[in-house]
Symmetry: C2
Subunit: 606 residues, 2 copies
């Protein structure tokens, strides 16, 4: 039944040969990889305005120069990452670039912050998407956590079904969002030009008197940088692209940058000219849409597509997390299970772990994950910086023709992102200090896991010249509960293995012991019976003691095999009618003694 | 760690020889077996008043004659059951008496209704106890379910610790309750005699005009009969008494009848003379206590002891349910696990099942199990009737000296209880119809279980003269994942069993297959390697197909053994780092193929 449910949700298994077909084209890739970046439009401007509002309404004017600065930063990032894509056509995430150029520990730092960040991406995006829904339908506000969990479950299942299929389903909402945003920005500008703004926006002149500090400006700028999260997704996912992968990926990156830049500036401009201030119960985009179109069909369509793209932003992490986890597992820094491709060729374990952890975050924060945005943004800029540093080192090492310009671009990128990291640390320390707790723990785990795998490998390695199988004797211990067909069959089997067999009966009182011995003598199956007395009605303890004695007596050259008969019932509920003593014995002995356990099945006919 | 927690909660294991010491003396038995019956005082009168109130305040006068009728019924029951105790000194519950005298199906009917009833006892008593608490502290009303569940958990643990120890802890509250009830009744009567009633109670004269019907009177009477639930506990538990068991049990039964009768009449009388009407938010006993003592220390002490005895009433079921379940399991009508005595000599499985099922009822009914009282009372009176009928049959069959009077007593008992069953069915059908659904299902289960055990016994029976173990060959299939020390050790072990060994490697692509074959040839461990190709990245499916082929080819005289190497890690978290493929293979093969599975352990050193 579980298997049937799995089939229904996930679909039939795919052959390994089908892997190449699952690659992404440029436009599909734009949809599946850029939803994270594009969705930032839904909260980037708002984050800037929120900081400026702490000074006062007049300070909102600064949102325009700050947005332009963010746009500049975006350009730098796109240019830098374009270089990485061509330098690492097989996949150039921050983990690989840092590991290769700056050493394993730095690579682990980058990988660790990215993994943590992907989990935050899902939690933050899903919560923001839920906000877009509850802005439109306030009566749903109490069901935020449920809505968010359902969306995470839906995304997880979609991703378990496989990449291309998910992309087909998930591509349209991205195009829809871009379409509606462009429609909103154009209509908004048209309305502003023809009828003027509903509120007179503050000008730079007004602000001069409000005494805004550099600290606030930096804080607002760093908040705006949250709009740039997700840009790195393309460079991590190059192996998923159709050939020529590097070229397609670079194209996709530039397209994404253009769309993101235009939408972000458009929204920031409209927010300014409409004089919109951030409100807790309604998002900025919702306010702009309501002012432009009124709360009609167009408004609800915009809210719906915003919610959708935010849910899809989470999907970027579903593409990136399992891929990075599998790379790190291949390098033996994460459990091997992350390298296993599931029935539909996705890295199912990574997908499931991501879904569970992000759902946990949503539940813990009760759907209010907005407080996590700074942490999330910092978690992106740390690998940005490390990756740029790695590229700088690489250019310096390889020195290809014309490396000077490439080096310069990456240096500018590195300095910018480093400065932004510092701004985050200084202006938002209270919200990001956890990263100093998280990252060391995660990196410690990586190192411990790596050491374990190395230890095991060393322990298991053999010299194929010298190490060859030997031969030993085998002593069989056969616990019996009476004289019956199961015991008969098990003894027959044991005799096929060894001549050295001891049947063991555990009696709860002297009567039972005597009766069993008489019965055994009468039957005389050619196997010695040892009767053990148990005062505490436990079968396992006397058995363990008996095995200890044998182990002490036996020669070093003998194996000990415990032969356990096990009923296989014809109907599942029959299992309730048989004390599963053999299961307990098996589990206990296996974990406590160095003996081989043979389970001999007896299939009940009725 | 689980084991340490178990020790802490349950205590150290006791020897089987300690069983005799766990027997009950008269006074301890009165405490542990009569709390169910005595606790009925807390709701018996209230149940009568609730029905009468549907007619009007003036009808409350009828509570006095109805209470006297209930008292008469109690006398009949005590006399009847006294006879049963002497006739069945080894335990004369309705199940045994009915089974022996009226045949197995009737016995199952009695046993089934008793088992269901014990679960209801726990649910109803715990809920009523929680009511007593929330009557005194209304602010706790929202936490009723939690309080009830905690009490059930507490009782379950106490009972798992063992009978005598539980009795010592639980005996005092019963004495305390009896003491406080006597104090309440005497003070109440004294106050009534000296200062008169606060409200003038209605008299029989007043009622004449209110037109009360026979139907209502019967309904009220049957409600009052709920005060008699629990009387049968003593006769079920005779084996638990100190010798002379029958005499002690009979004495205990009579003492219980006297105490129960006095308390019940006292409360009914006070409720009448104080003119107390039932209220949803406050129990009748709480009202009487408040009128007599005011809401002072005495009031809270009475509420506390009422709550306690109701919790202990549930404890009666904890003594009775596991005992009856073990009897029925010995007769092979219930799963064998109910016959197993736990570490502390109690029938732990019965105790745990009772705790879980009653907790489930409390959760389903959200702590409002008062609606279950009629069902619960009917579930008691059905076995009452069957047991009396059985006794009548017995006297008629055996005809000992002076059997006429005994026969007469049981006949009166039978007719009375039968009439009460009919009254229940007629006046409260809407609340008790479920019993017609429950009982057939439960009895059907008993019969199916019995048939299964008989089938298995027939299947396993051997002729010790003719059936002796034979000898066959053994073919060993050994799945390998590479060339390493685990494989080396497993092959060594396999060679100790049989010369006939096939190593199987499942490759996910042709490269891997070729590499493995070359490596194997280079090593040459003296065992043939078969390489299987898996297109769906599943190890189990190609393996199953391979085993199918072998099964089809092999001679009938060969066993097939699958030899599975299994890592035993030195730290638990290391398990996460190894795909537990061998566990999956083991579980799958075991349930699907008729092969022996040998698990060969490899203990990792680090």
């Amino acid at each position: 039944m579980m298997a049937a449910l799995k089939r229904l949700l996930i679909g039939r298994p795919l052959k390994s040969e089908g892997l190449a077909e699952e690659k992404l084209g440029k436009f599909k890739a734009l949809a599946i990889l850029s939803s994270d970046a594009l969705s930032s439009v839904a909260y980037g401007t708002e984050q800037i305005l929120l900081v400026l509002m702490t000074v006062g309404f007049t300070a909102l004017w600064y949102s325009i120069p700050i947005s332009i600065a963010v746009l500049g930063l975006l350009t730098i990032l796109i240019l830098s990452y374009r270089q990485t894509i061509f330098a690492y056509p097989t996949g150039g995430g921050a983990y690989i670039v840092s590991k290769e150029n700056l050493g394993v520990p730095v690579g682990l730092l980058a990988g660790g912050s990215l993994l943590v960040d992907y989990i935050l991406t899902v939690a933050v995006s899903i919560s923001a998407g839920t906000d877009a829904i509850t802005s439109a339908f306030p009566q749903l506000h109490d069901h935020r956590v449920i809505i968010a969990i359902v969306m995470i479950a839906f995304l997880t299942i979609m991703n378990l079904r496989g990449l291309t299929e998910s992309a087909s389903i998930l591509a349209y909402p991205v195009y829809l969002f871009v379409f509606f945003m462009i429609a909103l920005i154009l209509s908004g500008i048209f309305k502003f030009v023809t009828t003027g703004a509903p509120v007179t926006p503050p000008t730079s002149h007004d602000v001069a008197i409000s005494g805004i500090s550099l600290y606030i400006l930096l804080r607002a700028f760093s908040s705006g940088c949250s709009a740039l999260t997700g840009v790195e997704a393309v460079s991590n996912a190059i192996p998923n692209f159709k050939a020529p992968a590097a070229k397609n990926a670079a194209m996709t990156l530039v397209m994404m940058g253009l769309v993101l830049g235009s939408l972000f500036m458009g929204i920031s401009f409209l927010a300014y000219v409409y004089g919109i201030a951030p409100r807790t119960e309604e998002t900025v985009v919702s306010q702009i849409a309501a002012s432009t179109f009124g709360r009609g069909l167009m408004y609800y369509a915009i809210q719906a597509s915003t919610a959708l793209i935010l849910f899809l932003a989470a999907n970027t992490a579903y593409a990136a997390f399992p891929l990075l986890a599998s790379m790190m597992a291949n390098d033996k820094f994460m459990p091997r299970m992350f390298t296993v491709r599931g029935d539909r060729l996705g890295f199912s374990n990574g997908i499931i772990v991501l879904g569970v952890l992000s759902a946990l975050l949503v539940v813990i924060f009760k759907g209010d994950t907005e407080g996590l945005i700074p942490l999330y943004a910092l978690g992106v800029f740390i690998p940005f910086t490390l990756s740029q540093t790695g590229m700088m080192r690489r250019w310096f090492k390889i020195k290809p023709k014309g490396w000077g310009i490439s080096f310069l671009i990456n240096t500018i990128g590195m300095i910018t992102t480093l400065v932004i990291c510092l701004i985050f640390l200084i202006t938002k320390f209270s919200q990001v200090w956890m990263i100093f707790l998280f990252l060391p723990i995660v990196i410690y785990c990586f190192i411990r896991i790596h050491r374990h795998y190395q230890d095991v490998a060393a322990e298991l390695r053999i010299d194929t010249k010298l190490d060859l199988p030997g031969t030993k004797g085998n002593l069989i211990v056969l616990p019996v509960a009476g004289v019956n067909r199961v015991v008969l069959n098990t003894i027959s089997y044991a005799k096929s293995i060894s001549e050295n067999i001891v049947a063991v009966y555990v009696a709860f009182d002297d009567d039972a012991a005597q009766k069993m011995e008489e019965k055994w003598d009468e039957w005389n199956p050619g196997v010695r019976l040892v009767t053990l007395k148990s005062s505490y009605r436990s079968i396992i303890k006397p058995l363990i003691k008996f095995i200890d004695t044998i182990e002490w007596k036996k020669s070093e050259t003998d194996y000990i095999t415990i032969m356990i008969p096990q009923f296989i019932t014809s109907k599942w509920w029959h299992n309730l009618l048989h004390n599963q003593t053999s299961l307990f014995i098996r589990a206990y002995l296996f974990n406590h003694k160095n003996v081989t356990i043979s389970t001999f099945p007896y299939h009940l006919k009725r």
